[in-house]
């Protein structure tokens, strides 16, 4: 297959065969991972599961708990976000699913929940993340989740159920009300099926927030359990504090969803050039190009006035602002460093 593609690309050069084929069928391209939405299943009032059939080049080798990047085109522009996979990798099923909760300030999550129809073509980024269970799973597990933080754990629970290796699992999930609990019916069904799966639901509107300092009231043996925690940042911070106090940090696995602040994190920040590369603390007026050069990073550059595109690099994480017009760019965008400044901490793919 690779050889054939190489040969054919000799006659399609400078393009790839994929560049022609995807015009016939959007899934026939391995150059950019694509998928087509085959189903949109409402989960709660503000959440939906997207079932996606990936195209060429997709590897089914993902693990429950990992996330994927999904790109959708809104008004001509591709926007990228990351969501946990809620499907279980199997031979039989070639589709994948993610569950998205619409947040009031998140225009893209609202679009994903309410604006996608079956047949929509989306872009995909390969599965990533180490918020996964070891194989075989530990004897005693605690899943501590809040809101949409349930999604990666749902992938894990489905995998444990599908492979029939449900060990001693305790799920503690917080949501404002009963109606806001994702997958509620399925969760109770699983708990009925598996004696070893126990469920605690914390309805925070009526019961208040779960106090992690008194976690033993809900899960008496929590210190014996290996824990996977995913939810809003304050909950994760509290968990890290509580586990650290018990010297149990080694048993804690945390998944942080990056939160799109849309530049509202103040101006400037720490810029990292390439994963694990040099860093620079900059103000909101220094261009990323200048910042990189100041710390000795060999930055691509050209006109230094925003017209030639020689300096374009991918924004790996964080947000930056276009100094010309204030446009905020987010993770996944490609940005011109000569006219952009940091809007909070960010990582550039240099």
């Amino acid at each position: 297959m690779g050889l054939l593609r190489g040969l054919v690309s000799r006659i399609t050069t400078p393009l790839l065969p994929d560049d022609y084929l995807h015009l016939l069928n959007p899934l026939w391209s391995a150059r950019e991972l694509r998928g087509v939405v085959v189903n949109v299943v409402p989960e709660t009032e503000s959440a939906a599961t997207l079932v996606i059939k990936p195209g060429w080049g997709w590897s089914a080798q993902y693990r429950a708990g990992q996330y994927i990047g999904i790109g959708v085109q809104v008004d001509g522009r591709w926007h990228w976000r990351s969501y946990s996979l809620t499907s279980v990798p199997t031979e039989a099923d070639s589709t994948i699913s993610i569950t998205v909760k619409a947040t009031p300030e998140g225009f893209l999550s609202q679009h994903l929940v309410g604006g996608l129809v079956p047949g929509t073509v989306v872009r995909l980024a390969a599965p990533k993340g180490d918020f996964v269970l070891p194989d075989p799973p530990p004897e005693k597990i605690l899943f501590l989740t809040g809101g949409a933080g349930l999604t990666p754990v749902m992938g894990m629970l489905r995998m444990l159920h599908r492979r029939d290796i449900m060990t001693d699992v305790h799920l503690v999930h917080s949501a404002p009300t009963e109606r806001d609990v994702l997958f509620r019916k399925e969760l109770h069904g699983l708990a009925d099926r598996h004696q070893s799966l126990r469920l605690h639901e914390q309805f925070t509107d009526t019961m208040g927030m779960l106090a992690l300092d008194r976690l033993d009231e809900v899960v008496p043996d929590w210190v014996e359990r290996e824990a996977w925690v995913c939810g809003p940042p304050p909950m994760l911070d509290a968990a890290e504090r509580v586990w650290k106090a018990q010297h149990l940090t080694g048993k804690l696995h945390v998944e942080r969803f990056s939160i799109q602040l849309d530049g509202a994190g103040g101006e400037g920040g720490t810029v990292t050039f390439g994963a694990g590369g040099r860093t620079a603390d900059v103000d909101g007026a220094t261009t990323l190009l200048e910042a990189g050069e100041q710390v000795g990073v060999q930055m691509p550059f050209g006109c230094r006035m925003g017209i030639c595109q020689s300096c374009v690099v991918p924004l790996v994480a964080g947000t930056v602002r276009d100094l010309r017009n204030g446009t905020v760019h987010v993770e996944g965008d490609r940005i011109q460093t000569c006219i952009s400044a940091a809007a909070g901490d960010c990582v550039l793919g240099v």
């Binding site: 560049d19 015009l23 001509g76 591709w78 017209i307």
Partner: protein, 391 residues
């Protein structure tokens, strides 16, 4: 001499220059805000059309021994190559579609169907030419190092061959473009790191190898006994593209009224005067929608030079506002028919092959260039008068 004091040349006050700059900034903002699904659909359709024509042309040429198939195949392939070069390659590499955030239609990833590697093009064109536009001694597109296009360039006996050099450049345009960023002048003077030159040569070699392999080896071989007729068809398609892109590009900065500037002007220039230099240094030609599309909207060269990274499909509507702006400040908006603009270019090229003593006009008031010392904008506004004076 070329223009040194752009304000005096254009009869503008500081306040006028600022006001023009502000209006142009505002136009940019308006356009940036209005980019959307309609524009994205435009470029996607252009890509579909281009790839469809390329596939259709290649397919027809599998019967290239049959003359009607040769003609149809060559025409489709030639059109595909022109669209790929002008409306897609040139404009995508400018970053006009980067706002879509689509990695497949992005300046950082696009490689075009021509001998020049897009990375080198980005340097020689997007950076050197678009930043230093028409600054004699800084913009290598002023004559491309081989032609004399203004009396500001010193005459040399080699320019006697200019009519021939020009014809050869037009015929083999893609190779001229491919060698452009090497900057042979700098290499000859020993001012360029040989390692850089070697790296660039290797990059050009690889690209040219693949391009030649495709058009002159693989597709002819695939058509079996029709090897030769497929080869001539592909060569003709490349020639069509070369002649067309050469002509369009030469109409951008070499017709009368596209002024040249001195390094001194550039060094003392404000950002708003940069706009002014782009306006005064570029020339449009009149085109209907089809012609505009085939030229990659470079019939709107003035608009393109003011906003090189804004989507080409919007230049037509922008030209209305730019033209009104020029009227308001009594600035020239250089345009004419395609033939007229190219004939002026050709006349300049042929004429300037001779030393100045055989020419009647002075470097300060010549049709191809003027300066604040000789012809100024007001004089240039009436082309007929200009012609008489130039003799």
């Amino acid at each position: 001499m070329a223009v040194t004091d752009i304000k005096q040349f254009a009869h503008l006050t500081d306040a006028d220059v600022e006001a023009i700059g502000r209006e142009l900034d505002e136009m940019r903002r308006d356009l940036e805000e209005s980019r959307g699904a309609r524009d994205a659909a435009y470029i996607r359709n252009a890509i579909k059309l281009q790839r469809g024509l390329a596939v259709g042309g290649r397919a027809a040429l599998f019967a290239s021994a049959f003359p009607p198939a040769w003609i149809a195949g060559t025409a489709m392939l030639g059109l595909a190559k022109i669209i790929e070069n002008m409306e897609l390659g040139h404009n995508v590499i400018h970053g006009q579609w980067d706002w879509m955030n689509d990695p497949e239609v992005h300046s950082s990833a696009w490689e075009w169907d021509t001998a020049c590697p897009s990375e080198q093009w980005k340097h020689s064109h997007n950076f050197v030419h678009h930043k230093y536009t028409n600054v004699v001694g800084k913009d290598d597109d002023v004559g491309y190092g081989i032609l004399r296009v203004t009396r500001d360039q010193k005459w040399h006996p080699v320019y006697l061959a200019q009519p021939l050099t020009n014809a050869l450049l037009a015929t083999f345009f893609q190779y001229g473009v491919a060698l452009h960023d090497l900057n042979i002048k700098e290499i000859r003077r020993g001012r360029k790191d040989p390692r850089t030159t070697w790296r660039q040569l290797k990059q050009i070699g690889r690209k040219v190898g693949r391009q030649i392999g495709k058009d002159y080896v693989l597709f002819p071989l695939l058509s079996g006994p029709q090897f030769l007729s497929t080869l001539t068809a592909n060569a003709t398609a490349n020639l069509m593209r070369n002649l067309w892109s050469y002509t369009v590009i030469f109409c951008g900065h070499f017709p009368d009224g596209a002024e040249k500037f001195t390094v001194e002007e550039f060094e003392n220039e404000t950002p708003h005067e940069w706009y002014l230099r782009q306006m005064l240094g570029s020339a449009n030609f009149r085109a209907g929608p089809v012609m505009a599309f085939m030229s990659g909207n470079l019939c709107y060269q003035i608009e393109h030079h003011l906003f090189p990274d804004l989507p080409s499909n919007r230049y037509a509507e922008m030209s209305q506002r730019i033209r009104a702006l020029c009227e308001k400040y009594d600035l020239p908006y250089t345009t004419g028919s395609f033939t007229h603009q190219y004939m002026q270019t050709l006349r300049t090229l042929w004429k300037l092959s001779l030393p100045d003593r055989f020419l009647t006009a002075t470097p300060d008031a010549a049709p191809e260039t003027a300066s604040e010392q000789g012809g100024t904008v007001q004089a240039l506004r009436r082309p007929t008068q200009q012609h008489r004076r130039a003799g």
